[in-house]
Symmetry: C2
Subunit: 378 residues, 2 copies
């Protein structure tokens, strides 16, 4: 039985689902000859590890308890009170140092997959050191990959040891497919994508003539948006995904070089207007302009999509008119879609489409990444 | 530099393109830290190998010469006359024995990827022995995977060492995506696909009201069909792909358990009617029935597609009414499409679409498979 030691950072939504998947896949993975040995889980304040990380693991009963506690919204530090031997709770002050020590020890002995399911800017130092120590790195967190080029290079020092399918399109096999295209020497000419379920929903609702303000309010009520819908409307999340794809293609760029169209003007930004004020009074002022653009597109046989376009050295993220009858134009609801144009997929693109959000799907993508690393473990 | 020794069987269309890709990707692969060491190429009559398969390789100049000779339609035995040392030509009588010996020696020492780009039924014995000796196996050839279950089990003895992306949808990342879904424990409920570029083209042309006979004749003229179009119209090729997908899902079935709808009746089969007679006099008799089915589908808001449907233990291949507005219904021309329904992709499927034929694309899929094996080599 091949053993893959895993240290999980971030056990909120995605991380918690990952632990559930790991536990429920035990017999499936045993049949495949693989065992995922969870040797640590952490949130922003605590790290839980077995007494001996080299020999022991956090057992399934313990992991299920972690899931229950996190699904109640409680922190891992809750375990301090439950401690009865068998595991240690490392507090905030020692968290980073201890995590780094574990990655050093295991990276050089049994191997280790450090899995980042957080949404934190703060994990990058740990991840870079882990990569340097020979650990594998699996990311659902986009932020470490969208930092400076210096950070990026350190993180992907050993490209085969870095997986991050779930940073773009959740579990959709976008990165895996691009890696195949790249390694076969098929040059990618351009990529066109709709990479935000929220903005996909918003843009396809606009098509039916509804005003932007009404669509965004409804999306918020349905739970499709972030608590502050401007986090979606700013396009920053899409820009991060676009940067990850562009860097995978070898483009040496940073967030600053991406042209990002925000759906709201600066004066309605989070620093200047409350969420409520924006939704009550701000966004209605944007209705007319968008309505006119929708109509103009329609008169050209087109629809509006919030798209990412990567072509040559240019990466653009914003509203785009696309033919009604193109894969992107036909997209409805919150599905993600990626069209890849290359030598092999020249006139008609390679299209990958499906649910691009959700904790279950995102965690499934992370788990597939971990299992796909198995040949790197002894 | 990691070295992947490769023995290629079949250097017609796909195999020849693979050799071209390998040569033209040298600097790309060097940057990735990988070198593909071609230690043998064979067609049905000859095997070319370096003098010492353990230490030497067929160099790029030699491989380019192989490509030139094969693109002229000449056999590898042409090399007998060119022989000036540096390589050996193994003739038909010794071909299988010698190939098996090489797989034994390399499988147990440097490792070896045996790549089957032929369309032969005859490679299966070599492949099974290679798998047993610890070799990796990469297939564009569907036939070894669609033989008996006993053969199948021997072939996929070590699943991580067997890759066959290009057996379904050419280079489209269908198998890779399914393997990810499977390993993440996401249960696949059903698969709906259009897996024949030829039949995809035929069915979408019928939609415009053209008679079947006219569409098939035009497809033959355009080079979209096999020399005998009945090889496409029989549905056997689609059935093979369906069987490969079903077996990947763990279904213990054979070709006999697949319901296959042929587009022509038995009395128009190759044994009873010549190709010319079929195209001149046979196929017109099928026009009316198909036209009526197209009209009936249209009155239901549907179109006809030649689809493969895998659901539960049932695998069906044949004409199916699908909603005009579904991914399969919107398909035009010769693209392939696969819709996968699972727990994660429940209401809306995961859709993979794009060119599903062509030597360039198929060979690119094989090359991506080879590169993806790199972690299994020392």
């Amino acid at each position: 039985m091949k053993k893959i030691p895993v240290l999980l950072m971030g056990c909120g939504g995605v991380g918690r689902h990952l632990l559930q998947h790991i536990v429920s896949c035990r017999s499936l993975h045993a049949k495949m000859g693989v065992h995922i040995r969870v040797i640590g889980v952490s949130d922003s304040k605590s790290l839980l590890v077995p007494m001996d990380v080299l020999k022991e693991e956090l057992n399934d009963e313990f992991l299920s308890q972690v899931c229950r506690i996190k699904s109640n919204g409680s922190p891992l530090s809750t375990f301090s009170a439950l401690e009865k031997g068998g595991f240690r709770v490392v507090g905030e002050s020692e968290l980073r140092k201890e995590t780094e020590e574990i990655t050093q020890i295991l990276g050089k002995s049994t191997g280790l997959a450090v899995v980042d399911c957080s949404a934190s800017m703060e994990t990058i130092e740990i991840l870079m050191k882990a990569a340097e120590s020979g650990c594998c790195v699996v990311l659902a967190n986009k932020k470490p990959l969208t930092s400076t080029l210096e950070h990026y290079d350190k993180l992907v020092l050993h490209p085969r040891r870095v997986r991050h399918e779930s940073t773009v399109g959740a579990g959709l096999p976008v990165i895996a497919s691009m890696n195949r295209i790249i390694s076969s020497g098929d040059p990618v000419h351009s990529i066109l994508g709709s990479l935000s379920g929220t903005l996909g929903y918003v843009m396809s609702e606009l098509e039916d003539g509804k005003p932007l303000s009404q669509v965004v309010r409804a999306a918020k009520t349905l739970g499709y948006t972030e608590p502050d819908p401007r986090d979606d409307l700013s396009g920053m999340d899409v820009a991060r995904k676009a940067l990850i794809l562009a860097r995978l293609l070898g483009k040496r760029i940073t967030m600053e070089s991406i042209e990002i169209e925000s759906l709201y003007p600066e004066e309605m930004g989070p620093g200047l207007m409350s969420v409520d004020d924006f939704l009550q009074n701000g966004i209605v002022k944007l209705d007319q302009n968008i309505e006119e653009r929708v109509k103009k597109a329609s008169s050209n046989g087109c629809v509006l999509r919030y798209a990412c376009v990567i072509e040559g050295s240019s990466v653009q993220v914003g509203i785009r008119e696309v033919p009604k009858d193109s894969p992107l134009g036909r997209l409805r609801g919150s599905d993600n879609i990626v069209e890849i144009y290359s030598r092999c997929y020249k006139e008609q693109p390679l299209v990958i489409q499906g649910a691009g959000a959700g904790n279950d799907t995102t965690a499934a993508g992370v788990l597939a990444d971990i299992i796909d690393l198995q040949d790197l473990f002894p």
